[in-house]
């Protein structure tokens, strides 16, 4: 009796492993998309854009609003098209929002002490949250079941169409972003501005335009991430941006803030760590700690990494100023 039971248990543990790996990678790819927004802005302005999480939230809310409106109007188009229409509107709204945030809250403070823009960022974040609350109310908004959710079995673990789609889209977007930054003219301008804004300006780069572009780009990614999160969990809420932003920022720091590849690595890693923790933490500690400690686990990993690599996993060692 005993060995068989143990065998079954081991099978279970492996099943859980694969399932949590899949969940973690999907979730992590969303974190990575958001983390890219943080890291691009940080790379250029050395500013924690605290309001970025709220842009994700606005993206999710606008998508849902448009989707629900189209559904209510009774137009006869496939679900994916409806969602795509919602996403297009959300992307435009978020781009405008990102541009406005930088223009209003950060640009006037570019020469101010370092903590001043942090406070305006917090202010923007509070404002956006409350605007969303006034427009869409305090309750959870559920995502209508119009997306294909077929479940596929892979070695005892399940993965849905939606999960595959999220993961692939995130990968494509990240690949596109890397191409943009490394191969295009504006990408080169972004890299130059990140290295030395003043010199880049002297070389003919329009630094203000580059900064605006960075915010717009990050916000577009945030809108897509917002749709992904709300579709994945099936709900959206005016407060969702806070925790998401926090997680994504953690991911960006984990990978080495300011580093594009680091944000992607950090995002995927954080997603996997979290879902592994959710799956195993109870077993590992003999039931002493439950799965609600998954966030603690993520932060412990972060602190552990930073103790040994103070600039994150892929971050360069920055020489202290002389």
């Amino acid at each position: 009796m005993v060995p068989r039971q143990r065998l079954q248990q081991r099978n279970n543990i492996l099943d859980i492993f694969l399932q949590q790996l899949i969940n973690g990678l999907v979730l992590g790819s969303v974190y990575a998309l958001i983390a890219l927004g943080y890291t691009m802005v940080y790379g250029i302005l050395e500013l924690i854009n605290f309001a970025h999480g709220e842009v994700v939230m606005i993206g999710a809310m606008v998508t849902l609003a448009v989707v629900n409106m189209l559904l209510a109007s009774g137009v006869d188009i496939p679900g994916i098209m409806i969602v795509a229409a919602g996403l297009l509107v959300a992307i435009s709204v978020c781009m405008a929002l990102g541009f406005a945030i930088e223009r209003i809250a950060y640009r006037p403070l570019r020469k101010a002490p370092r903590l001043a823009p942090l406070i305006t960022a917090i202010g923007v974040s509070i404002v956006l949250q409350n605007v969303a609350m006034i427009i869409w109310g305090r309750s959870y908004i559920s995502f209508p079941p119009i997306l294909p959710m077929t479940r596929h079995e892979i070695g005892g673990a399940g993965i849905t169409d939606l999960q595959i789609f999220i993961f692939l889209l995130a990968l494509v977007l990240m690949a596109g972003l890397v191409m943009l930054i490394n191969k295009t003219r504006i990408g080169r301008a972004m890299r130059a501005t990140a290295q030395a804004p003043e010199i880049a300006g002297l070389m003919g780069v329009n630094v203000n335009a580059v900064i605006s572009f960075t915010f717009i780009l990050g916000s577009a990614l945030a809108a897509i991430a917002g749709l992904m999160v709300s579709a994945y969990y099936g709900i959206a809420h005016y407060y969702m941006g806070f925790l998401l932003g926090l997680k994504a920022f953690t991911a960006a720091v984990l990978g080495g803030i300011g580093n594009i590849a680091g944000a992607m690595l950090g995002g995927l890693l954080l997603g996997v760590i979290e879902s592994m923790a959710a799956g195993y933490i109870g077993d590992l500690t003999g039931g002493f700690l439950g799965s609600h400690y998954q966030d603690v686990f993520a932060f412990f990993v972060l602190i552990g990494v930073l103790v040994f690599r103070p600039s994150g996993l892929l971050g360069e060692r920055v020489a202290e100023r002389a």
Binding site: L115, G123, V127, G287, F288, I303
Partner: protein
């Protein structure tokens, strides 16, 4: 010479008069507020003092030493839960208040060192996220440590905490003093006022001390400070410990005042709020930080009157005032920072750093002119 002397005495006298007036105002404040706005506002006044203590504690870490701490509320939580565990029916312990408060400062200080030790090598924003993580870790543990051993009673929190008081007099309800009924919140005000003044005093003395100057040196340039022979490790740890112990005391006071603690009170937003007080008021400048704490505690409360205001203006409530309240608060943060990037009331040296070069030149020329004369 006589001219100078007269200026000196009149300045002294003016300062003295101002000092006495301020003292009278502080002493009369709860009665003035209570009579004009009601006892609810006296309670808010108590919270203002509590937040002043917290903000001054964080000011040591952020304002003096320049270490961005986004998890300060963790120490507040440590102090509050220590008080709650040692003086409530939860464990059946009822230790005297005046033992717990210093103990809370000590334990919170130790937590500060624990946080500080592994983070010494981290620079600015990395430090911010680690402290933020630390704050969340403490909160999540408080939220979940009700099983398997019920240590913190989880999300329900701990209630029926022994009130603040001394010699059998509890400050949770009104008591008689020289034949006059004194409501508890008034007595709490004077207690908090005394402690806040003590913390102001300590902050002032620290500022000009050897340690305080070492902190500012580290803030301005860590490498240079080290080259000047400052033991940056110890001095930074001391900043963490000092700031944390102020937070611990405030936490204990909060628990005793409120009679109830739960993890909800120690959310990340609270840390951010305290940081806003410090930065908005004027980092590293004690009067500025006090001003920031007063404004940011009073503003959200004052904005509760929006509902009636809307009714008066539009004849009906257009937007739920509870929603509008925080919106205006956020807008206020943005507007203030844009127009006063160094804070509402920055110290003179910082103000000079951020004033335009022409102004500085003018000042210097004035000084030169004075010297020549």
């Amino acid at each position: 010479m006589p001219n100078n002397w007269r200026r000196f005495t009149s300045d002294r006298r003016a300062a003295y008069v101002a000092f006495v007036l301020l003292g009278l105002l502080l002493a009369a404040a709860p009665f003035l507020v209570g009579a004009s706005l009601g006892n609810g506002w006296v309670r808010i006044l108590d919270f203002v003092l509590l937040y002043i203590m917290l903000a001054l504690g964080l000011n040591i870490v952020v304002g003096y030493a320049g270490l961005l701490d986004l998890g300060y509320v963790a120490f507040y939580a440590v102090g509050a839960y220590l008080y709650a565990l040692l003086a409530s029916p939860h464990f059946g312990l009822h230790l005297p208040v005046w033992l717990i408060l210093p103990l809370g400062a000590l334990v919170a200080g130790l937590f500060g060192m624990t946080l500080g030790a592994p983070t010494l090598r981290l620079r600015g924003d990395y430090l911010a996220i680690v402290t933020l993580g630390f704050g969340e870790i403490i909160r999540i543990f408080l939220n979940n440590l009700n099983a398997p051993v019920n240590l913190t009673n989880g999300p329900q929190g701990i209630s029926m905490i022994d009130p603040l008081g001394a010699g059998g007099v509890s400050l949770s309800q009104s008591f008689e003093l020289f034949g006059v009924q004194v409501p508890g919140i008034y007595a709490i005000y004077y207690l908090f006022l005394a402690l806040a003044l003590l913390i102001v005093f300590i902050s002032l003395r620290l500022q000009d001390s050897r340690i305080g100057r070492a902190w500012v040196a580290i803030r301005e340039d860590e490498v240079a400070a080290e080259a000047m022979g400052i033991n940056t490790r110890n001095v930074k740890l001391l900043a963490f410990a000092m700031g944390a112990s102020f937070g611990g005391i405030s936490g204990g006071l909060f628990a005793g005042f409120q009679g109830f603690v739960s993890p909800e009170s120690f959310h990340l937003m609270e840390s951010i709020m305290i940081l806003c007080m410090v930065v908005l008021g004027g980092m590293g400048h004690i009067p500025g930080v006090i001003l920031g704490a007063i404004l940011l505690t009073v503003l959200p409360e004052a904005l509760r009157y929006i509902g009636p205001l809307e009714e008066a203006l539009f004849g009906r409530v257009v937007v739920d005032p509870a929603d509008l309240r925080m919106l205006i608060f956020g807008l206020a943060l943005i507007v203030v920072m844009i127009f006063r990037p160094a804070g509402l009331w920055p110290s003179k040296t910082r103000q000079r750093e951020f004033s335009s070069e022409a102004e500085v030149l003018e000042h210097e020329q004035d000084a030169l002119y004075d010297a020549q004369r």
